[in-house]
């Protein structure tokens, strides 16, 4: 291309569009009752996930959170199995046993999207230990929120990675709120990044609405990890537009004009403007948006056309061998 940017930039735009459009449609069919349970949407944080994942190789590991829709898409996952999972179908990425909080696609290096706050951090540390013991250069990146840094799992997992100099990148997506509690009421330091000092670990604070800035910050951390320099804490300052979860029954917290303020720095709008300024034709970006819309529509159709799991599926994957099925289920 000769329009001042490259395929990589367009891929970042495409992945952010995928997340946004995937969730917008998921929310609308959730409202119609097609998706059971709750949705923990990622909207507003797209640049954080995509920027971080674009700094990784395909074979690098990633661990995420209950706000799980964005991470796998950011890492390159196909949309069909993710949407089918939201609808509880057997073709879902977790065969219908995980749902909105667990959209984890191991084929793109994911090792889980876990819904107990902070619990993914020791897992990422362990994956990084695995790389070290196997003598390869794969790194492990862990996403978590500001709330997770008050969990023991954060401190234990990060300490272990620091003391063993493991190839891990800890990405705190600081969206300002732990459910309804603002970070300033729960965290005594101004920036989460300050917590890295306790573990003699380098830290970077980055604008989480700027996908290029996030990618650059994480790339620096990845380089350090891959070359034996140990872990880094990256804090992305970001924001989620929606309440903690869709389907909580009521609005937990009125954030007033704050949401609108953040929407003025929407990561997709910002990036589109930057690409246009760099000389990318509007057509190119419009085409990407249309292609993504088709992909999402296809994913929804696929999910709708798919079957629900058989009852016996509830007894599979507890262990490697399927459990015996009780008589009252067989009857």
């Amino acid at each position: 291309m000769t329009d001042g940017t490259n395929d990589r930039s367009l891929e970042k735009y495409r992945r952010m569009q995928r997340i946004r459009q995937f969730e917008d449609l998921a929310e609308s069919i959730h409202a119609q009752g097609e998706i059971p349970g709750s949705l923990h949407t990622y909207a507003g944080q797209e640049a954080s996930g995509v920027g971080a994942c674009m700094a990784l190789r395909n074979d690098d590991y990633m661990v995420g959170t209950h706000r799980s829709h964005g991470h796998p898409i950011a890492k390159g996952a196909k949309l069909r199995p993710l949407m089918a999972e939201l609808l509880g179908k057997v073709t879902g990425i977790c065969k219908g046993k995980g749902g909105s909080m667990h959209l984890s696609d191991f084929s793109v290096g994911s090792l889980g999207e876990t819904s107990i706050v902070g619990s993914g951090i020791p897992v990422a540390t362990g994956a990084a230990l695995g790389s070290k013991l196997q003598g390869n250069d794969r790194v492990a990146l862990c996403f978590f929120g500001d709330g997770a840094t008050n969990e023991g799992a954060f401190h234990e997992g990060v300490n272990l990675a620091a003391v063993w100099k493991l190839p891990a990148i800890f990405v705190c997506e600081n969206n300002g709120y732990a459910v309804s509690t603002p970070a300033h009421a729960a965290v005594p330091v101004k920036d989460i990044a300050e917590r890295a000092k306790a573990y003699a670990m380098p830290a970077i604070i980055v604008d989480g609405q700027d996908v290029d800035a996030v990618e650059a910050a994480v790339a620096e951390a990845v380089e350090r990890a891959r070359t034996g320099g140990g872990p880094t804490l990256v804090e992305t300052k970001t924001y989620r537009y929606a309440d903690h979860a869709v389907n909580m029954g009521r609005i937990l917290l009125d954030r007033g004009a704050e949401v609108d303020e953040w929407r003025k720095r929407d990561p997709l709008t910002l990036y589109r403007a930057r690409l246009l300024e760099a000389g990318v034709a509007a057509d190119v970006l419009d085409t990407i948006e249309r292609e993504v819309a088709d992909e999402v529509a296809d994913a929804i159709q696929f999910a709708r056309d798919s079957a629900y799991p058989e009852q016996a599926e509830a007894f599979d994957d507890v262990f490697v061998d399927r459990l015996p099925i009780p008589d009252f289920i067989k009857a």
Binding site: Y61, V63, G92, I93, C94, K95, G96, K97, G98, H102, S104, D105, F106, L111, G112, T114, I116, G118, S119, I121, P122, V123, A124, T125, G126, A127, A128, L129, G130, S131, K132, L133, Q134, R138, A140, G152, A153, E156, G157, N159, L160, V163, W164, D316, D317, V318, F319, V320, L323
Partner: protein, 330 residues
Amino acid sequence: MAKTTFLEAIREAQFEEMSRDERVFIMGEDIICNVFGTTTGFVDAFGMERVRDTPISENGFIGAAAGASMVGMRPIVDATISSFLYPAMDQIMSIIAKSRYIYGGQARLPLVIRSCMFYGNANAAQHSDRNYPMFMNQPGLKIMVPSTAYDMKGMLKAAIRDDDPVLCFEDSTCWTSKSELPDDPDFIIPLGRGDIKREGTDVSIIAIGGAVPLALKAAQTLQKEGISAEVVDPRSLVPLDKDIILKSVRKTGRAIAVDPAHQTCSAASEIAALIAEHAFESLRGPVLRVATADTHLPFSPSIEKALYPSADRIVAAARQLVTSPEPVPA
């Protein structure tokens, strides 16, 4: 053939499996200094990368074992004492037990968490837990509680080769017991197979871990009184060899479940319920439990010992069953 102790059997099983498979490594608190003697010579044989001292950070390193197992390693975690599993409940219950399931089979977690049950020696309530029953209530965890050096070696080797997470509970009252062990490097006792430790015809004593030697001692006493006791050792609780228990009870018509755990919701309770549901027609009396009293374990030896199962309590239970009148047919 020389006899090997229970602790030495643990060391041998780990040593052989680490020699056989370089994906196996061990970590935990004070592994290198080797507190209980189960890692003697490991650093020399395998180096510091595969024999790792951890910070006192159970949730951290047990979670790290989960992560390492998901990327193709086969960790053994030595959690030292079973009471120390509590700080790691987050990782054991939410990550290790459930990851394979919630991700629809994408994850595989071949790891072993070893811990000893350090009771009966004036260590007070926080160091004396026999806590396997609470893990039985969580699907996704295999649980072994062997009672002999022979079973320990064969089952621990099986656990290390298993593709599912296994919790290995080591009863410290069995530490000095000895068995003759086969030389075969592939000596394996699969999890889920119980063992008849003594055959008998009048009463089935289903005993767990350190209760097995007590049951065998009780059986000797009962023999002198003309009561023939069968001692059944389930060896692993998940999976549980239901058939061997039910077959024994159908033969003898009487059952006592003996468990070093606290009585409420104990493994003995589960076994008693199993028998009541599936072998009721064979029973000639109630299923009895001999377990630890539902109170904490006090420090003072003068009041600690009586709280646990003992050979005397098992003998008394067997006498009660054998001498109680037969139910009158309606």
